[in-house]
């Protein structure tokens, strides 16, 4: 296979690549062996540490409730963040300066500051300013909505702006009002274009729920890093199992995003290519 870096190898190249492949494979095995020895030295492969994961009640009482809390925080945050994103994304495209500028300021502000300090602010500010008791669930959802909602607002704006100008010009020319242009012409096309990016951002949101661990929200990470080790003294196995659950869920949602992207490329609703997801680094 020819790439930017390598030509298709000839007989000598193939031989050299095979030899080096064996050398590197040996190096990888040696490195893995050292990690194994280190874990073994500290007794991390003891059956007692892994055995809890074979018991049904450990899953039912400790892990599943954490997973459900994680999923419900993600679901509630998604349900609020998506409308938030649409409202602020469309507001940033408004013709009125007094709508456009404040919406832009809100979006830019919440994208530029860390999610964790919003969660802390919700937790302490709620009681200090409003006199309410803010649960860790509310605090986490508050932060997730503001941050991810602002990122979604940028996706919505980019999605609408990616449409050809002729679309809205033609709609205005046939006499539609501004609201009708947005609702009947622009949004149906834009949603198709930005769906993959929205779903990738929802993966980030799901990962970010793990920040709840820091404010003692009883989520999946809390189950793996606090509750299970407190019962069985098995921090490393528990964190690994929890990580596998996170990865499984995220890969699943990622597959949905890929499927949507393929579908949206084929879509006859619009000829515009789907927009790229913003640098989905994610915090949590």
């Amino acid at each position: 296979m020819s790439s930017v870096l390598y030509d298709t190898p000839g007989p000598r190249g193939i031989l050299r690549n095979r030899i080096l492949t064996f050398v590197f494979a040996a190096a990888v095995i040696v490195a893995a062996w050292f990690v194994y020895l280190k874990f073994d030295e500290k007794g991390q492969f003891d059956a007692a540490l892994w055995e809890p994961f074979l018991q049904a009640d450990v899953w039912v009482n400790l892990i599943i409730p954490g997973l459900l809390n994680t999923l419900s925080a993600a679901a509630v945050a998604t349900l609020i963040a998506v409308p938030f994103g649409f409202v602020f994304g469309i507001a940033r495209l408004s013709e009125h300066r007094w709508i456009r500028v404040p919406a832009g300021a809100v979006v830019e502000f919440f994208r530029a500051i860390p999610l964790l300090i919003m969660i802390f602010f919700a937790q302490y500010g709620g009681s200090a300013v409003l006199g309410l008791t803010v649960t860790s669930f509310t605090a986490v959802v508050f932060g997730l909505v503001l941050y991810n909602g602002s990122v979604l607002a940028e996706i919505v704006r980019a999605g609408i702006q990616s449409l050809p100008r002729g679309q809205s010009e033609a709609a205005l020319a046939v006499g539609l009002r501004k609201g009708q242009v947005m609702r009947l012409i622009l949004l149906p096309q834009a949603v198709t274009v930005m769906m993959p990016a929205i779903v990738s951002q929802l993966i980030v949101l799901l990962k970010d729920t793990a920040l709840g661990f820091i404010v003692a929200f009883e989520d999946l990470l809390n189950a793996g890093a606090r509750i299970l080790p407190a019962n069985f003294r098995n921090l490393i196995p528990a964190v690994i199992v929890v990580a596998i659950i996170y990865i499984f869920i995220n890969v699943l949602v990622g597959l949905v995003a890929n499927w949507l992207e393929r579908r949206s490329r084929r879509s006859r609703k619009t000829t515009v290519k789907p927009i790229e997801a913003p640098q989905s680094v994610g915090v949590g």
């Binding site: 020819s2 870096l5 999610l115 964790l116 802390f120 990962k207 793990a210 640098q279 994610g282 949590g284």
Partner: protein, 222 residues
């Protein structure tokens, strides 16, 4: 407002720690990410497999989990130690976590940067008789480097914000300092929040502007 003025030296110290965490993690992540990217574009299946597995695992794991694993797993259970002082040790462990996580994204940024170079250019270079190193030095890397400036800038901003997650293992950077100030000055929570938010804006906005300017200036004309 009073609380912010009163505690100004503490806040400054906390943000200095945030900056150091960011820079140290950025350097380690850049090195590790470059190595991973080299593995991912290499002609050796084993290395490609290892790099792909690493990137997919770390990208789909929450950063908080990675940091907790480094702090409690590596630090407490496996006794990985960098320093006699407990707080310095946790600082280093959080740097490991942050850079291990960020390196996965750096790797992807570099790899897609290399992919922006059209194959025809490299084929032309080989047809002219350029060796592998010459091809890399004169054709591929100068273009790839320019294409990755903007993504690396976003990563640096994300990393600056992500250093707050080190609070999960008790590293006293800006967010943890803000939390303890909330507890001490219950009457000025709003002022403290906006003070810290402003300080983060001061860190992230110039980075974004600088990298945006640089990437526009060095954009490859195609």
């Amino acid at each position: 407002m009073g609380a912010l003025v009163e505690e100004f030296p503490v806040i400054l110290g906390a943000f200095w720690l945030t900056v150091r965490l960011t820079l140290a993690s950025a350097v380690v992540a850049l090195v590790l990410g470059t190595v991973l990217a080299a593995m991912k574009v290499s002609p050796f299946g084993v290395l490609r497999g290892v790099a792909t597995a690493y990137v997919n695992t770390l990208r789909n794991t929450p950063l908080t989990l990675v940091i907790v694993f480094c702090g409690l797993g590596l630090g407490t259970v496996l006794d990985v130690s960098f320093s006699e002082s407990l707080s310095t040790n946790y600082l280093w462990l959080s740097i490991i976590g942050l850079s291990a996580y960020t390196a996965a994204f750096v790797c992807e940024a570099i790899r897609s940067g290399i992919n922006t170079v059209p194959v025809g250019q490299a084929e032309a270079a080989r047809a002219l008789g350029l060796t592998f190193t010459q091809n890399l030095r004169f054709v591929v890397l100068p273009q790839a480097f320019r294409a990755i400036i903007a993504p690396l800038g976003s990563l640096l901003i994300a990393l600056t914000k992500n250093t707050t997650v080190a609070a999960a293992i008790g590293v006293g950077e800006a967010s943890l300092t803000m939390k303890s100030m909330f507890e001490q000055h219950q009457d000025s929570v709003v002022a403290i929040f906006f003070g810290f938010a402003l300080a983060f804006l001061v860190l992230t906005l110039p980075t974004g502007l600088a990298f945006g300017w640089l990437s526009r200036r060095l954009k490859v004309a195609r």
